[in-house]
């Protein structure tokens, strides 16, 4: 499993798609920082606060979109090229291949987020320190970012499951983006119609990431934790059991 993970990390390191998506996300994050700074300045605030800025980074799908594109193509590439057969022919078992690939994806997602956070904070600090004070709370921001990272890892597991279910890269990518739009629209509408305290949308992992607020973290801690655990555990188990039975010739499902 470690060998598979190492080789997958090498593959990601050499992937133009990964760096393309990372550059796109970094650009989006820079744009968010610029927007936040502009809002702060036009609001005539004396200080730029990093706590709302941290929330603002996840206020839209700027990080989700590029990551979805990369992960869908990454998880389905082996079906497209048929490279599973070569890995299996050399004695790697399916568990090693599955978890090696998933772990590599999780590590790369974590790296992706770290770079984006780095770009975001560097941008806002460079813009803000010249003329304004900077307010921040490291524990609150750290906890929030940690939960956000877990949300993204859960989302990675969901995309992994979709990829093993559908296998065809175009179909998987379209379905993933379709889900992002449809679940946002309908879950928020249903919750609003039912006047729910804890929105249904927050049970969807992307929704949880999107609507997470630092000041409500403590009171919603249990549902957040359950959602995260469910998204990390269930899709992984389901996709693993599916992967064990899959026909792993070079077949995209047609």
């Amino acid at each position: 499993m470690i060998q598979t993970m190492q080789s997958e990390l090498f593959r990601i390191r050499k992937s133009r798609l990964f760096f393309g998506c990372l550059a796109l996300a970094a650009f989006f994050v820079f744009a968010l920082a610029l927007t936040f700074y502009h809002n702060s300045v036009s609001g005539m605030l004396s200080a730029v606060s990093l706590v709302p800025f941290t929330e603002f980074l996840f206020s839209d799908y700027s990080l989700i979109f590029p990551l979805t594109l990369f992960l869908c193509l990454y998880f389905t590439e082996d079906f497209h090229t048929g490279s599973y057969s070569m890995a299996l022919s050399k004695g790697a078992n399916r568990a090693q291949v599955f978890f090696g690939k998933l772990l590599a994806a999780w590590i790369s997602v974590f790296f992706f987020l770290l770079v984006c956070f780095g770009v975001a904070y560097l941008s806002i600090l460079m813009m803000g320190t010249a003329r304004h004070d900077i307010e921040y709370s490291l524990p609150a921001m750290g906890t929030f970012l940690l939960i956000q990272c877990l949300c993204f890892l859960g989302y990675t597991a969901v995309l992994n499951l979709i990829s093993y279910l559908l296998r065809h890269r175009i179909i998987v990518t379209v379905v993933a983006f379709f889900l992002l739009g449809v679940l946002y629209l309908y879950l928020t509408k249903i919750s609003a119609a039912l006047d729910m305290d804890y929105s249904l949308y927050k049970y969807w992992i992307v929704g949880l990431s999107h609507s997470l607020r630092i000041n409500t973290l403590a009171e919603d801690f249990m549902p957040i934790l359950i959602t995260l655990a469910a998204y990390l555990f269930l899709p992984t188990v389901m996709s693993f059991s599916l992967f064990q039975k899959l026909d792993l010739r070079s077949l995209e499902r047609r």
Binding site: Q3, T4, Q6, S7, E8, F10, R11, K14, S15, R16, L17, E77, T81, G82, S83, Y84, S85, M86, A87, L88, S89, K90, G91, A92, N93, K245, D247, L248, R249, S250
Partner: protein, 298 residues
């Protein structure tokens, strides 16, 4: 390698059915068959890309074959390429995945590892050589090649054959090659397994195949013993096939003379015909791919 009753049938009825065969150490075994014969499915079942619905598999005499798979190399029919990885990076990727050191086989394969172009942008033959180089990582004892000659021109086939011959001669590597081009397979194969409709129809060595295909004159006569006595004087190269059939070799142009000789000697010739065919035609006929041609041997 040994399989017994290996079966994997797809919902549409294609697949492999009850395949039992053996590839011995140091053998070059060619799996011959047309499209949808089940060759690729069989190979994928051997390497573990699909799980057989029934049957057993032994690798290197071991039923617990997972570990033994490390001693196998596999070259798929459609070359595998990884993203935009160059040949050197692809080798590095797979050597890291397999935990094997990179072999120096690229010298034999004439692979340019300084090539920066992505493998998927290289010609098919180069892609296949890169896949062969991947298969050779860890110096396997057994290499499986799925239709390696498809889509390659004559020169590229020559090169591949010379590489495979080198591997066989230098390392005594056992090879299992599937394909439908007899002219290429026959250059290296020592044994053939003929597949059609997911079944292994027959197995025969290169010698047996040549013997089956040898051009000859077949004679059906109820007076076999007398015919033998007469033929042995002028045409000693003959073989008795059954109680009333004899075949004579190396005299394909003299069927009229043989017929006249036998008739003059008062031997009844019920039938006389030119038999035998090209191995390609013979195999095609076996797999149901040949046209009905009156010249084909019975």
């Amino acid at each position: 390698m040994e399989t017994a009753g290996l079966t994997y049938v797809f919902p549409d009825g294609n697949g492999i059915k009850n395949i039992t065969f053996q590839v011995k150490r140091g053998e070059i075994y060619a799996l011959y068959g047309g499209h949808n014969a089940g060759k690729s499915v069989l190979l994928q079942a051997i390497i573990g890309a699909i799980r057989p619905q029934s049957g057993t598999l032994k690798l290197f005499g071991n039923t617990d074959y997972q570990q033994e798979r490390r001693r196998i190399g596999f070259v798929p029919q459609k070359p595998v390429t990884i993203g935009s990885l160059s040949p050197a990076n692809m080798l590095r990727y797979f050597s890291s995945a397999f935990g094997s050191t990179e072999s120096h086989i690229q010298d034999i394969l004439h692979l340019n590892l300084k090539e920066k172009t992505a493998v998927r942008r290289l010609p098919l033959s180069t892609q296949r050589l890169v896949n062969l180089a991947v298969a050779l990582l860890g110096n396997p004892d057994f290499i499986i090649l799925d239709d390696p000659f498809s889509g390659m021109d004559k020169g590229e086939c020559e090169h591949l054959i010379s590489v495979l011959a080198y591997l066989y001669e230098m390392n005594r590597t056992t090879l299992l090659i599937s394909g439908q081009d007899y002219s290429q397979l026959s250059r290296i194969a020592s044994k053939y397994g003929v597949m059609a409709d997911g079944k292994l129809i027959c197995e025969l060595t290169a010698g047996e195949l040549n013997e089956c295909c040898q051009r000859c004159i077949k004679i059906r006569t109820p007076q076999l013993e007398r015919a033998i006595t007469i033929l042995s004087q002028q045409y000693p190269d003959f073989e008795v096939l059954s109680h009333d059939i004899i075949r004579v070799f190396n005299c394909n142009e003299q069927s009229g003379e043989i017929n006249a000789l036998l008739v003059r000697s008062g031997i009844e010739v019920s039938e006389i015909w030119l038999a035998g065919m090209e191995p390609t035609d013979y195999l095609l006929k076996m797999t149901g791919g040949a046209k009905n041609d009156p010249d084909y041997a019975k």
